[in-house]
């Protein structure tokens, strides 16, 4: 598949990629390589110029407008720019994803605090995004991506604003979730994380895949 933005930038060039269910893959590559564009494609935030994308059984070329929310509910995303709703507290931001799928009130009330505590933000529950540090905002975005147990989790640079120690914990968390059957796709620039955890590693450069292999990590377990 290919993506060309309206100003003529070829962000992706004849990329062909298949991520299997239950896989854990790192996507790395220099700035501007097209990693975020790949994610936007999966979310149908941008459309392919040529080619075809199939996500969780939805063919994004043929999907009707009305079905797009259904698609997005099967994917949990940590956006590179966080995209928290500024008028909602941390709790409301995370709970929103559950409200969207009409989850029972009771479930929301137990699930949301649990997920927020997973990313270590128990005492920031009532804060607004503008009252959080960069790393804290990023972790709220992560909590939001996890909260509704999606089939696919995509994390665009989820540790960019987080110290190394916590970063390891977060990737470990994603690994654990992956072990329960969830597919995880993680964009990162942190080489030491890739080296440490290993797994399938896809290197994008200039809109093309230049490397796609399973690396052995210094896995702890």
């Amino acid at each position: 598949m290919s993506v060309t933005y309206s100003n003529g930038v070829d962000a992706l060039n004849n990329v062909s990629l298949k991520i299997n269910d239950g896989e854990f893959a790192f996507i790395v590559g220099p700035s501007g390589a097209g990693k975020s564009t790949l994610i936007k494609l999966i979310l149908k935030e941008v459309d392919v110029t040529s080619g075809e994308v199939i996500v969780n059984g939805f063919n994004l070329h043929k999907i009707k407008r009305g079905k797009v929310p259904k698609l997005r509910r099967t994917i949990g995303v940590v956006f590179q720019d966080f995209r928290l709703i500024p008028t909602m507290t941390v709790y409301e931001n995370v709970a929103f994803v559950l409200r969207v799928i009409d989850a029972p009130k009771k479930y929301i009330r137990s699930r949301v605090p649990y997920v927020i505590s997973l990313v270590g933000l128990k005492d920031k529950v009532k804060c607004y995004p503008s009252e959080l540090s960069g790393g804290e905002q990023q972790r709220v975005a992560l909590a939001r991506a996890l909260v509704n147990d999606p089939a696919l989790i995509i994390a665009d640079e989820p540790t960019g604003n987080i110290d190394p120690e916590l970063s390891y914990q977060i990737v470990q968390l994603l690994k654990d979730i992956n072990n329960c059957g969830t597919t995880v796709l993680m964009v990162t620039h942190a080489q030491e994380l890739v080296e440490h955890f290993g797994g399938r590693t896809i290197v994008l450069n200039n809109g093309s895949i230049v490397f796609d292999k399973v690396l052995g990590g210094i896995n702890e377990d």
């Binding site: 979310l43 929310p69 259904k70 997005r72 995303v77 709703i85 008028t87 929103f96 009130k105």
Partner: protein, 301 residues
């Protein structure tokens, strides 16, 4: 959608009236002003129309009779005229009465009447009030065909004048109300568009995490409706207060208005329910529709 979700969405809508108060207040003001403009124009028109039909009802044709028509013929004629389609009322106006009134109307000319004596030189007459002033001409023609009639005197100029006033008032008020209405729609849609535009990112984010359009729209809908209803309520309150004060001030010049044939203005109480329901309903509708239409563009992600 479950009840609890609906509750949540309604709550969100009501809350965001306050959270986005700078934006909603702008919409509030715009809707308020729009309603006030259209509403006061309508009240004004209603008063003018009342005044016109007041004059209209006083408008009469005078049917002068020949001399010495026997009394039974007169009463038969009265019946005949009464039967005509467009006639609302017929009153007999004797020549003695006519002469009395005539004398009274003449100031500074007492000398003239002294030389005439008490015998009335004027004829007997009927005063006829019509239902529809614009059909007066044909009514006059019908009366003219009858026997024993000396002359039918119709205030034709005055009738034309009234018809002219009526159509002019209708034209002006329709034009002004329509113009105000269009202008108000434009500014309301702009105000709500601006209000939604300021939150386009929020809308986008919601879409990206899987919210359906309806889920995003309900709070906006509720917010717009509540804002509009509040504006309607405020507009109704202002109209109430303003109208009463205004009528009060105008009533100090009652002799002046009487001279123009206005006996009484429409009291607010008689239209209060209409005004309140109309304002609140129109406000809610405008606010809700405006906001919902404005969200459309930003939902397409």
């Amino acid at each position: 959608m479950k009840i609890s979700s609906m509750k949540y969405l309604f709550g969100q809508g009501i809350k965001s009236v306050w959270t986005n108060r700078i934006m909603t207040f702008a919409s509030f003001c715009v809707i308020l002003v729009s309603l006030l403009l259209v509403g006061s124009m309508m009240l004004f028109t209603a008063n003018v129309n009342r005044f016109i039909s007041g004059i209209e009802s006083k408008n009469e044709i005078v049917v002068y009779l020949n001399d010495n028509v026997p009394e039974e013929t007169v009463s038969q004629m009265e019946g005949d005229i009464k039967k005509l389609d467009n006639v609302a009322e017929v009153v007999f106006y004797s020549k003695e009465q006519a002469f009395e009134d005539y004398k009274k109307s003449m100031e500074n000319a007492e000398e003239i009447f002294e030389s005439i004596g008490d015998e009335s030189p004027l004829p007997d007459a009927f005063k006829v009030r019509v239902k529809d002033i614009s059909k007066m001409t044909s009514t006059i023609a019908q009366i003219n065909k009858m026997q024993n009639i000396y002359k039918v005197s119709a205030p034709n100029d005055f009738a034309d004048l009234l018809i002219g006033i009526k159509s002019t008032v209708a034209m002006i008020s329709t034009a002004v109300i329509a113009a105000l209405g269009i202008v108000c729609l434009v500014i309301i849609s702009n105000a709500t568009r601006a209000s939604v535009f300021a939150r386009r990112k929020e809308i986008n984010i919601m879409k990206y995490v899987g919210a359906t359009n309806i889920f995003i729209r309900i709070p906006f809908f509720v917010e717009g409706m509540v804002t509009g209803m509040l504006a309607g309520l405020a507009a109704a309150g202002i109209t109430w207060f303003g109208y009463e004060k205004f009528i009060e001030a105008l009533s100090k010049q009652m002799t002046l208005w009487k001279a123009f044939g206005i006996d009484e203005f429409i009291p607010f109480a008689s239209v209060a329910v209409k005004v309140f329901l109309g304002y609140i309903g129109a406000g809610a509708l405008l606010g809700a529709i405006g906001t919902v239409i404005s969200t459309r563009k930003h939902l397409k992600v």
